[in-house]
């Protein structure tokens, strides 16, 4: 017998009856193909929502990364605090007087201290116009920007003037003081970050200024200081009783 015949015989010996094999195979393939087609269409329908979800997730991840990055940078990075708003001179001028005038029947409070600012009158000069008092202002810690000082008669409300160094604002008049012609300003301004007249023994800045009150003043002064303390608007007033002029 030939090899071909032997091989045919060998495999036919183990070949079972295959009745209906063709129909069985075709039908199964057909059924399986339908299932796969349904699955494919289902996945096609899902593709758009899945893509949408993927985009949303991607955006969320990017947003989280940006926000998280900024948070981490905020935690570990150098802290940058925005500088406090420093008021202009006009803003300080527009701040109102904090207290009412002192009635004639009331006694004049005598307080040189107003928060971080202390005033110490030292010498007096007199002119045809009025009385001038030179004193020093000692500034405590925490002050920044311009510091404005205004003064008025606490009983009549007549405002005082400032001459010489640190006098600022509008000129309201002139006078001859100790033989020297001076301009009278309505306020004094200290630059707290600038160079003071001197530094006291504990490192505080000392500014020297001269204020004047017109003859006829009651002897009860009210002065008000406006500026910035620890980054916030600061304003205080104080009183000083002196001899009436």
């Amino acid at each position: 017998m030939s090899l071909r015949t032997d091989i045919h015989a060998a495999f036919e010996a183990i070949t079972p009856l295959t009745g209906g094999l063709e129909e069985r195979v075709v039908e199964t393939a057909r059924r399986e193909a339908r299932v796969r087609e349904r699955r494919r269409k289902f996945m096609l329908r899902l593709r758009a929502p899945i893509a949408l979800v993927a985009v949303v997730v991607l955006i969320a991840i990017v947003a989280a990364a940006i926000v998280g990055g900024r948070l981490i940078q905020g935690w570990y990075g150098p802290h940058t605090v925005s500088p406090p708003h420093l008021p202009s001179l006009s803003e300080l001028e527009n701040r109102p007087w904090q207290h009412q005038l002192v009635a004639a029947s009331e006694s004049c409070l005598d307080s040189h201290y107003a928060g971080p600012v202390a005033a110490f009158p030292e010498t007096n000069s007199e002119s045809a116009w009025g009385i001038y008092s030179t004193g020093r202002f000692v500034l405590g810690k925490g002050l920044s920007g311009p510091l404005m000082v205004r003064v008025r008669d606490a009983r009549t409300g007549i405002t005082g003037v400032f001459i010489t160094e640190h006098a600022a604002g509008g000129v309201v008049g002139t006078d001859i003081v100790d033989g020297v012609s001076v301009a009278q300003h309505k306020e004094a301004v200290f630059d707290t970050s600038g160079r003071p007249n001197r530094i006291d023994g504990v490192g505080q800045k000392v500014f020297v200024m001269t204020m004047g009150m017109k003859h006829g003043f009651s002897g009860c002064f009210q002065w008000q200081v406006d500026g910035t303390l620890n980054g916030k608007p600061f304003g205080t007033d104080s009183y000083y009783s002196g001899p009436p002029g």
């Binding site: 030939s2 090899l3 071909r4 032997d6 091989i7 045919h8 015989a9 060998a10 495999f11 010996a13 183990i14 070949t15 079972p16 295959t18 094999l21 063709e22 129909e23 069985r24 195979v25 075709v26 199964t28 393939a29 057909r30 399986e32 193909a33 796969r36």
Partner: protein, 174 residues
């Protein structure tokens, strides 16, 4: 292995598919049986190949090449089936003792031959099954295997030499 000329998918109706597939089931089953020596595993292989055919049929430009292409798919399924541990352990062919205890010479010769074929490598076994059992010309065998006719002939020579030492090869392969 299979070089299928594929073009834009064309819709194939179920009737067309059935008409095209039915003539291929029997040769596919015979090939799978010769490769696996197990009727159930052979039917499974043909079944899986049929599902593949359903999806790929619409892309076939040359329907005349359907038969060798389908048999190539079946051969691949058989290769995968034999690779699985389960098939290797359970469907490895006729036990050794069959050739010893059988009283019928034909049966013994058949069992020996099947065992010898099962020991061939996949490609050798494939050319033997296609040429000797499915009676395909060498050109078609080459198309299924995916080689030239000369290469298919050379492979067949080597396979026959392994099967039966001393057999007249020229006589066997005509």
């Amino acid at each position: 292995m299979q070089q299928v000329a594929e073009v834009r998918a064309l819709p194939v109706s179920e009737e067309t598919f059935a008409d095209l597939l039915k003539p291929l089931v029997e040769p596919g089953f015979k090939l799978a049986l010769a490769m696996l020596h197990d009727a159930q595993a052979a039917e499974d292989a043909v079944q899986e190949a049929s599902v593949v055919a359903w999806h790929k049929l619409g892309r076939m430009r040359d329907r005349g090449r359907l038969r060798p292409w389908f048999l190539g798919v079946v051969a691949n399924k058989c290769r995968n089936a034999r690779r699985s541990k389960w098939t290797a352990e359970v469907h490895i062919g006729v036990p050794e003792h069959v050739s010893v205890v059988s009283s019928e010479e034909m049966s013994v010769r058949g069992a020996d031959l099947r065992r010898a074929i099962s020991r061939l490598g996949h490609d050798d076994r494939l050319v033997v099954a296609l040429y000797f059992y499915l009676d395909m010309p060498l050109e078609d065998v080459a198309a299924v295997v995916g080689t030239s006719t000369g290469a298919a002939r050379a492979r067949l020579y080597r396979a026959v030499a392994k099967l039966r030492r001393g057999v007249a090869i020229e006589e066997a392969i005509r």
